[in-house]
């Protein structure tokens, strides 16, 4: 326990530092121990298998294992957006050598901070340089170099670097690189084995291609989510909440399309590398957009329109395809309950009618609700969720989860980030953990691909000062010594 001290808080600035990890250690309550988890494994007679899984897949063993994609060189250039950065981070987590190019002034994303508050910028412990948290989180295992590709010398250096890369990630506006003479059609001459991936919002060609404002401002998320009906589909109906107060189409809280596009950019390019290396292919150009990558996973929606002119409507915390499958308000927040097949559907009923006999009666007796598919009709959803919420109203999230899990129903609370971080399963795996970075210890999310027998993904470092890796990378990738690099710095090229 840290010692008690007198503090005076007059402004928000006075609170900074009071909550840091050395003052308020993470986790607040210790994670469950193996001894506590073992009986859970035993109850289902799966102890032997679960022990095998713990021995072989545990997160803590990731560093002693091999890395999957060593030997591949990835060059990444782009500003503002997370799509190409998430893709670069995936390559980095898988063990490739990733270099990210920023202009000498740095990526403007480095300056973004919640509500514009400087006090939430992270500060590098060695250099004192500050950087926004969003940027740090999406530059995992990435080397940061600076280069002004708008200068002739910068282009020359860029060409040298591109000559030996396996993947080039282009997160610049449409045609920007081509105009500078360092786009795909020029570079494929010097590196025909290169997989060139453009990652953007709507496209580098076509009637709705990415635009810039007349002052050069870029399109960034959620423009992509707005262009494919994702936002139109999300949110509560105006029939349930007034418009303007939540009964509206709603964007996701994150820059969602960037993450989806980043993952598909990784998948497409690594498949292209497989074709190149295993099946005798060559390099190629790939174009991934947030709008379209998100449209790929728009469930069945456009197919549905082609079937009978249906335009999907938003359904809030409910789902038009499955019942039960929703979250609804409960005593201390929101509780998610899911169980669609007859077995699980009646299990939910059996659980709820222990506390509320009327639930079982009104739900299980109703002939309309006896067939699985018919339960998805709108009026069935209204009836089911009204009665479920009547139970939830008297039940808090922990009670609800405990009771429903006894009936093997998939159930989970809507958690806020503090609760997420303290959730026992999250701490045990761990899915969030404290990583020592150049910005001091940071609480971060682990990579979901970290739980593998042979070559798990891992975070080694995140975030870098602007141009931190200039000397190392220019030496190794172009043969430029420090004197040459310094000379370029003088000219403002690096």
């Amino acid at each position: 326990m840290p010692e008690k001290r007198e503090i005076e808080i007059n402004s928000r600035a006075d609170t900074i530092g009071l909550m840091d990890l050395d003052v308020r250690p993470y986790p607040v309550t210790p994670p469950p121990t193996y001894e506590q988890v073992k009986p859970i494994y035993e109850r289902r007679k799966a102890l032997e298998f679960c022990n095998w899984a713990e021995d072989n897949l545990r997160f803590e063993k990731r560093y002693e294992k091999d890395e999957a994609l060593t030997g591949y060189r990835i060059l990444d250039i782009g500003l503002w957006r997370l799509g190409h950065k998430f893709c670069a981070s995936l390559y980095g987590e898988a063990g490739s050598e990733v270099v990210s190019i920023e202009p000498p002034g740095g990526d403007p994303l480095r300056k973004l901070t919640p509500f514009g508050r400087d006090e939430y910028l992270l500060q590098n412990k060695d250099s004192g340089e500050k950087c926004g948290m969003e940027f740090v989180n999406e530059t995992v295992n990435t080397h940061c170099v600076t280069l002004d590709v708008e200068t002739a010398e910068g282009q020359e250096i860029f060409r040298k670097m591109a000559a030996n890369v396996d993947v080039l990630l282009d997160g610049m506006p449409p045609g920007y690189m081509d105009n500078l003479g360092i786009g795909y059609r020029q570079l494929k001459e010097i590196n025909p084995r290169m997989v060139y991936v453009w990652v953007g919002m709507l496209g580098q060609w076509g009637p709705w291609k990415d635009k810039q404002s007349k002052f050069g401002q870029w399109m960034i998320e959620p423009f992509a989510s707005a262009a494919n009906s994702w936002i139109h589909n999300t949110g509560l109906a105006q029939d349930l909440l007034p418009r303007g107060k939540g009964g509206d189409p709603t964007r996701a809280g994150i820059w969602l399309a960037d993450y989806v596009a980043g993952a598909q950019a990784f998948l497409n390019s690594i498949s292209a590398l497989y074709w190149r290396d295993e099946l005798g292919g060559t390099g190629q150009m790939i174009e991934v957009t947030g709008a379209e990558a998100l449209m790929d996973i728009l469930d069945f929606d456009i197919t549905w329109y082609g079937f009978n002119s249906s335009i999907k409507a938003r359904t809030g915390g409910w789902d038009a395809c499955l019942n039960q499958y929703a979250w609804n308000p409960c005593k201390d927040g929101y509780m998610m309950i899911g169980g669609q097949t007859d077995k699980l559907w009646y299990n939910i009923g059996f659980c709820l009618e222990r506390d509320d006999t009327q639930f079982g009666r009104l739900i299980h007796e109703d002939p309309l609700l006896k067939e699985m598919a018919a339960r998805n009709a709108l009026h069935s959803l209204i009836k089911t969720y009204t009665l479920t919420t009547r139970w939830l109203r008297d039940t808090n999230r922990v009670e609800a989860e405990t009771k429903l899990l006894e009936y093997q129903v998939a159930a989970g609370p809507v958690l806020y980030i503090d609760e997420v971080c303290e959730f026992p399963h999250f701490k045990y795996r761990p899915w969030v953990y404290v990583h020592e970075t150049d910005y001091g210890p940071l609480l971060i999310a682990s990579s979901p691909a970290s739980y593998q027998l042979r070559a798990p993904f891992r975070c080694k470092w995140m975030g870098r000062d602007i141009g931190f890796d200039n000397y190392e990378i220019y030496l190794k990738w172009t043969g430029m010594g420090q004197t040459a690099v310094n000379a370029m710095k003088q000219k403002g090229v690096i």
Binding site: M19, V37, F49, L57, A68, L69, P114, R117, M133, E134, N137, G175, Y184, G203, W205, S213, A226, A227, W230, H232, N233, T234, L236, T250, A252, G253, I254, V260, A263, L267, Y274, L279, G281, I286, V288, T289, M295, I297, D299, F300, I302, T303, G306, S310, A313, Y325, N376, L405, A410, Y416, D418, F423, P424, R429, W431, V432, S446, Y451, Q452, A455
Partner: protein
């Protein structure tokens, strides 16, 4: 290269080598891209994952999509389903309205619901009750011929059936075994999972929706984002494992939990809690790090007389973005809100919560007598970024997606005329593109193809298994 090093040949020199290439260099960039991707001819080009064969004991969206990605990229995927029943997702359809037939000859009144779409293209559909001992050897013979398997049963289930990685790696050491589920080892190991659980459990829901003080509630992304995105991330892990196997010759086991995926995508949320103790809240249609960069409600619908309620009532939202100083100034000029510009000249000031509230309220007031397209036009004409929030019909009718081939009609071999908006839209690839052959097939449609043609089971035996409901 020429045999004689003293000879200089034109084709060895850098630069364009023919008139065609010369033209290519002179072409406007957009035209060049269009020519490069050659939309519509995907099937005539090589498949990037040609030769990979993958088994799938999957249900719902998450794990099927993990394999569907491979099938679109050209792998041969064999999906094993429960005889007569099929997997649960075949029985889901929006509001119980959309089904395609046949499902299976034994059930003429049952269809496959549209919920099955996009997670199962190009797969071969086989029925097999793999948990009975009679089918174990048959299952093993598939394992011997395949590169990997994706499954989603609660941990230990396939181990009891002697089908876990521990057993299969002895039959086929190159085998890549993927478990995809909710939680994995740990205290909630047997907890079931769905997309919505991931959205709820891992923090995404807590920051999506209108703010509590504005009367809002947490909102789900109506589309099953965490299922789909986790599926794609599994495909990423599979491809990495395949690359690793090229070096080592060894398979692996991947345990992938979808419930952690949203947390990985929360950006600064986790870090901000750890370092500053701040619990991020919902911020509706605005952005916590940029202003102006949000969606505003306009007074009038673009289609007040439309029959469809989505057109009629909801074509009212515009995404407006003017977060750089000059853009913001222009926005304030065009909307007559100059005093807001004077007040919030600096990025830092505009992004503060109270400022955002004031700015967006003023913008919505300005838009109260305008339609969505009027607002978008006024702002776009002024050189500012603004786009309507589109619905499914507008996506279907968009020339953009049609030209790029990411929304297209397909003559499905069994089900007929259907729109495709998946697969091609994951990304255009110049030389080894993805492709869609069929949306899905009836239950057990490829039994003969796989059991006889691949495994050499006599037809009489297949008939016998079928009668016993083994397959």
């Amino acid at each position: 290269m020429a045999q004689d090093p003293r000879v200089t040949r034109m084709e060895d020199l850098p630069g364009p080598k023919s008139k065609g290439e010369m033209d290519e260099f002179k072409m406007p960039y957009e035209e060049y891209c269009k020519k490069l991707f050659d939309v519509g001819n995907e099937h005539t080009k090589p498949k990037p994952l040609n030769g990979i064969r993958w088994l799938s004991c999957t249900m719902y969206i998450f794990t099927p999509h993990a394999v569907a990605n491979l099938a679109e990229l050209g792998a041969e995927v064999i999906k094993l389903e429960i005889p007569r029943m099929g997997e649960p997702m075949r029985h889901t359809s929006p509001f119980n309205e959309v089904y395609l037939y046949p499902f299976h000859d034994a059930r003429p009144m049952t269809g496959t619901g549209l919920g099955y779409t996009n997670a199962n293209p190009n797969k071969y559909f086989v029925t097999m009750d793999y948990h009975i001992p009679e089918m174990r050897e048959v299952f093993y013979s598939l394992v011997k011929k395949s590169d990997g398997l994706t499954e989603l049963y609660r941990p230990g289930t396939l181990d009891k059936w002697k089908m876990s990685y521990r057993y299969l790696s002895e039959i086929n050491p190159r085998f890549i075994y993927v478990w995809g589920g909710g939680f994995g080892y740990g205290p909630k190991v047997f907890g079931g999972s769905y997309d919505i659980l991931g959205q709820a459990h891992a923090g995404l829901a807590s920051i999506t929706g209108m703010h509590e003080y504005m009367g809002g509630h947490c909102s789900k992304c109506t589309n099953w984002i965490i299922d789909w995105q986790s599926g794609t991330l599994i495909s990423c892990a599979i491809m990495s494992a395949i690359h690793h196997r090229r070096k080592t010759g060894l398979g692996t086991m991947i345990e992938f939990s979808q419930v952690q995926v949203p947390t990985r995508m929360l950006g600064h949320t986790t870090t901000m809690y750890g370092k500053f103790g701040i619990v991020r809240q919902r911020w509706g249609n605005w952005d916590t790090q940029l202003a102006v960069h949000g969606i505003i409600l306009c007074g009038k619908s673009d289609f007040p007389d439309a029959d469809n309620p989505q057109d009629k009532h909801d074509a009212r939202y515009v995404m407006v973005s003017a977060f750089q100083d000059q853009d913001f100034k222009e926005l304030c000029d065009i909307t007559g809100l100059k005093e807001l510009y004077d007040k919030y000249k600096v990025y830092k000031d505009r992004v503060e919560g109270e400022a955002q509230l004031e700015i967006y309220t003023a913008l919505e007031k300005w838009a109260a007598d305008k339609s969505r397209s009027q607002v978008a036009k006024i702002l776009t004409d002024a050189g500012i970024l603004a786009e309507p929030v589109r619905n499914d019909r507008e996506v279907y009718e968009s020339q953009h997606y049609r030209e790029r081939g990411t929304v297209r009609w397909m003559d499905d071999p069994i089900f007929g005329d259907m729109v495709v908006h998946g697969g091609y839209s994951t990304g255009l690839m110049e030389k080894s593109p993805r492709r869609i052959n069929w949306h899905w097939r009836p239950l057990g449609a490829d039994n003969k193809k796989i059991y006889r043609d691949l495994l050499g089971v006599p037809l009489t035996k297949i008939e016998e298994w079928y009668k016993k409901a083994y397959i």
